[in-house]
């Protein structure tokens, strides 16, 4: 079979989605893909564009890479715009004069920001908000400005206002309509949103029609409105809606709608054969769809048609839920009650600033739409009821009224949802997909995300997806049992609560009051860790020693032959030449294999049990402390050299790394914890791959949380920006102690966050906004733990009773005769089984 040549014009989110769909289909070899973009880079996530202002880099936003396209055989041209289409010859011609032939042509040209035709709109510092380049322009302009105005009080306008506010400008929003988000919200919702936005120091001016932008008296410009009023400002961002980018089609004889947009049918075909249009440039049934999810659907439909399948695009649900300037806002279906006969229920709580309204059908049986401001928790339920035409409960008002016990309103049983119900609109995952995933063995949110992609886009559907998963597990008869082991009918988090609240101080006391049997190698180390997290006793105390796992019990890392490795603490990776010499001398004296670790420390391998105290005596005398490499606890704080030496550093990253490492050293936690501190955005300390990553900015520190390397790497999420030293430490104290309290056994922070209901936003609510009113407790618990720090090796070498256990035999000074080594690259390593059998001469082991 010959391959078909598809040209995709435009490499935005939807153009990329089309290409991605072809690449990941069953028969990518049937197609040759060529794509053109007028932008200087391949597709990036425009939905998350505003995160560029809160520290995300261009790389974070990229949806693909040139390497990926190359390895998938996609031919791409950047910075070149397609200008002509010859529908008869089936060729396109670009601005640079390139001519390319196609079998099928897909137009994914997107949209452009609408700038109202106001005199003076083309001056410098009059900008738009659409691409990464626009954001760069806004940032540059803000540096020369004090006051900024956003024209447009819709979704994107409020996002732009947030950006200006974060850039430190006095911020104004100017809106033509009588309220904010006029398309999505009714009057009540719009009013409340306005109050909330104004309380955040954003000035809102509604019903303003700008007639001219002239030279200002105090500020750079003055905006003159038709009602005679004026507003002075230094810069203006236009965000007054989008218009389909249909110029290419228009100039080349393809049918265009009266008010713009490339006319397409249910298969996304345009009026010219073999030419398709998808995304924001396409006009279906007289409508432009300005959200990404319908664009993705169109991409799939167009591909299906090219591939001979018959999927159709039949419109899309335009419900939205988002957080604007920290305010939850949602709009579902017919938010304006335009359906004939529609009735409404409204709930308004002026004290807590919550507004909810549902629109129901004339007969009161179906939900037509809803508006939620201030609390959008019921979005998932309401949106599903609406799009699936589900029957309303007898008293529909229950859907928005708070329950009498103060908890959220009545929710819908997920059983009532049809399998076809789309739960995740970003990734197009249905209830049926989740059910299938559970049936094939997924039983955690992490599994579900891996398998289906659900909740990995905007994350708005996480709560609903989890309820579907839980319900299906229950249906399957899978006992959702979170008991830590057969000895305790509690989860690790529950045991941690019991230990903390009841002030239980030993494993035996906990086992007597809440468990059975003798305990085991699962619950003993877990409880040992919990006791250490809250009370921080010496771990080798008689009542705790039997709880310590393989490594903790001898304060070293057991290797495959039963010998140990030793890692002294080298806080922040900073070490003096004298201390480095001590490590070398000790390693030489005891013939230890020496390796530099990934955490900027030195690991010394091959110490026998009886050698550990001898080695540590020398290390402690030289000023070293234990590095807790053996513990589920803080390991290292990796740093780059920072502003003290580096030409680019903006803060003292080494100083901060040492301070953090010394603060949290020895804190036991559900799993190991790693930190990184980078002195500038070049990020040489790889802080974004750590549980807690700290990156210097001109104004302080950005804090990233819950990243890790290892088997399933996860980029840390940006948690808070431009923190001073004190706030940084406060947030880490709280987040770390919250993790210690609530995580599962051996659950890294990355998986913990993925399974935390409410995710990153919830964690911010707890840590920054103190939603649970426990911030002080968390800080106090951390302070108490830190106050009881001791170097476990110093304590041990000063305690002759404890030292007795550091020998191989209780009744002999002999050594283990089973150890055998060979020399490789000038150091010893354990002999392999084959080497032992072949009697390769073993190395003499000293001491």
């Amino acid at each position: 079979m010959t391959t078909e040549r598809i040209i995709v014009v435009g490499n935005g989110m939807v153009g990329h989605k089309f290409i991605d769909t072809v690449i990941n289909s069953d028969n990518p070899e049937n197609y040759e893909i060529v794509t053109f973009s007028e932008e200087p880079r391949l597709a990036y996530d425009r939905v998350k564009l505003s995160s560029y202002f809160s520290g995300s880099s261009v790389d974070d936003l990229m949806l693909t890479s040139e390497e990926h396209y190359q390895s998938s055989g996609v031919v791409y041209t950047l910075n070149d715009k397609v200008l002509e289409i010859d529908g008869d010859a089936k060729t396109v011609t670009t601005a640079s004069g390139k001519v390319e032939g196609y079998d099928k042509l897909v137009l994914a040209t997107g949209s452009f920001p609408f700038v109202p035709p106001i005199p003076g709109k083309d001056q410098p510092h009059c900008l738009v908000y659409r691409t990464i380049e626009d954001l760069e322009d806004i940032t540059a302009s803000a540096q020369e400005s004090k006051v900024g105005v956003v024209v447009g009080g819709g979704l994107l306008g409020l996002e732009a206002a947030n950006a200006l506010k974060n850039l430190g400008l006095e911020t104004h929003v100017v809106e033509f309509a009588p309220r904010l988000m006029a398309v999505q919200l009714d009057e009540g919702g719009g009013n409340l949103l306005r109050r909330k936005v104004e309380s955040l120091d954003v000035n809102v001016h509604t019903e303003k029609n700008t007639k001219n932008i002239g030279a200002g008296k105090k500020r750079r410009y003055v905006m003159e409105f038709t009602d005679g009023s004026e507003l002075e400002t230094d810069m203006i961002v236009f965000s007054a809606g989008i218009r389909p980018q249909d110029e290419l089609a228009r100039n080349n004889g393809i049918d265009i709608g009266e008010r713009g947009g490339i006319v397409v049918d249910n298969y996304c075909r345009t009026s010219v054969e073999d030419i398709y249009a998808i995304g924001e440039c396409a006009l279906w049934d007289g409508k432009i769809f300005g959200l990404v999810a319908p664009g993705y659907q169109m991409a799939k439909v167009a591909y299906a048609h090219i591939n001979g399948d018959s999927d159709q695009f039949t419109g899309a649900d335009m419900s939205t839920k988002l957080k604007l300037l920290g305010v939850d806002v949602a709009s579902i279906g017919d938010a304006h009650a335009r359906t004939p006969g529609a009735q409404t229920y409204t709930y308004e709580d002026g004290v807590n600033e919550v507004y909810k309204r549902i629109i129901v059908s004339e007969d009161g049986k179906k939900l037509l739409g809803a508006v939620l401001v201030g609390d959008a928790e019921s979005y998932g339920t309401l949106q599903q009821m609406c799009v699936n035409d589900m029957a309303l409960p007898e008293s529909p008002e229950q859907l928005i009224l708070p329950a009498s016990d103060g908890s959220a309103g009545a929710s819908m049983g997920v059983d009532a949802l049809p399998d076809a119900a789309q739960l995740c609109s970003c990734l197009d995952v249905t209830k049926g997909d989740i059910v299938d995933a559970v049936q094939s063995g997924c039983c955690s949110m992490g599994d579900i995300k891996d398998k289906t992609g659900a909740s990995t886009g905007c994350g708005g559907c996480a709560a609903l997806v989890k309820s579907v998963m839980d319900k299906e597990l229950e249906n399957l008869g899978v006992e959702v049992n979170n008991h830590i082991c057969e000895h305790f009918e509690y989860s690790r988090a529950e045991l941690a609560d019991i230990v903390r609240v009841k002030k239980i101080e030993s494993f035996d006391a906990l086992l007597d009051s809440h468990g059975k049997g003798l305990g085991c190698d699962i619950c003993k180390p877990a409880v040992g860790s919990i006791l250490a997290s809250f009370w921080n006793d010496y771990v080798l105390e008689d009542k705790h020693i039997g709880l310590q796992d393989t490594n903790d019990i001898y304060l070293g890392n057991m290797q495959k032959d039963g010998t140990y490795s030793i890692v002294p603490r080298v806080a922040g990776g900073e070490i003096t030449p004298d201390k480095l010499i001590v490590l070398g001398q000790v390693a030489k004296e005891f013939n230890l294999y020496t390796k530099v670790t990934g955490g900027q420390r030195i690991d010394l391998f091959g110490a026998q049990l009886h050698e550990l105290p001898l080695i540590w005596k020398q290390l402690v005398d030289a000023g070293f402390e234990t590095g807790h490499a053996y513990g589920k606890s803080l390991r290292t704080v990796k740093s780059c050299v920072g502003s003290t030496w580096c030409r680019y550093g903006v803060q003292d990253s080494v100083g901060m790394a040492i301070a953090l490492e010394n603060r949290y050293k020895g804190v036991r936690s559900p799993h190991k914890i790693k930190f990184g501190v980078s002195g500038c955005t070049r990020e040489c300390a790889e802080a974004q791959s750590k549980d807690f990553g700290v990156i210097a900015t001109e104004n302080g520190w950005n804090l990233y949380v819950c990243g890790n390397g290892g088997m399933r790497p996860r980029h840390a999420d940006l948690f808070a920006t431009d923190l001073d030293d004190e706030t940084l430490v406060k947030y880490i104290d709280r987040a770390m102690m919250f993790y210690i309290r609530t995580a599962d056994r051996l659950q890294r922070t990355s998986v913990w966050l993925e399974n935390l209901e409410g995710g990153l936003d919830y964690l911010r609510d707890v840590v920054i906004n103190d939603k649970l009113n426990i911030a002080q407790e968390l800080e106090d618990d951390m302070t108490s733990n830190i106050g009881k720090y001791q170097c476990e090796w110093k304590t041990t070498i000063e305690n002759p009773e404890k030292l007795k256990r550091f020998r191989h035999f209780v009744n002999s000074e002999e050594q283990d005769t089973n150890l055998a080594y060979v020399v490789e690259r000038d150091q010893r390593r354990p002999a392999t089984e084959a080497e032992r059998e072949n009697h390769i001469p073993a190395v003499e082991v000293t001491a």
């Binding site: 000895h487 393989t550 032959d561 256990r805 191989h808 283990d816």
Partner: protein, 119 residues
Amino acid sequence: MTTNSASVSEASQWVEVCRLTDLTPDTGVCALIENKQIALFYSGKLNELFAIDNFDPIGKANVLSRGIIGSQGDRICVASPLYKQHFDLKTGECLEEPEHSVAAYAVKVEDEWVSIAIN
């Protein structure tokens, strides 16, 4: 003090290895008897002593005495510190891989001295 009476026969020979006070409850130590390494465990909760081979046949190292002791159902076990397989302290049977079971030994305490019986 209960002592374990695993496999004591006419030919068995009791060897004193340490004082009871040399042991820490809920941990193990290793004893060397006629060039054989034997892991000796002291359960504080049961007030009972156990002995099995110290050699871990799966990890192939002399480490079993350094594992965590506990129970699996009714069986008293040690978990190998290397790869966490459980060995029954009364019989030496490996719960996960019975083909890799080890020997168990009788233990007794007399006048605060702990003895292990070897054949």
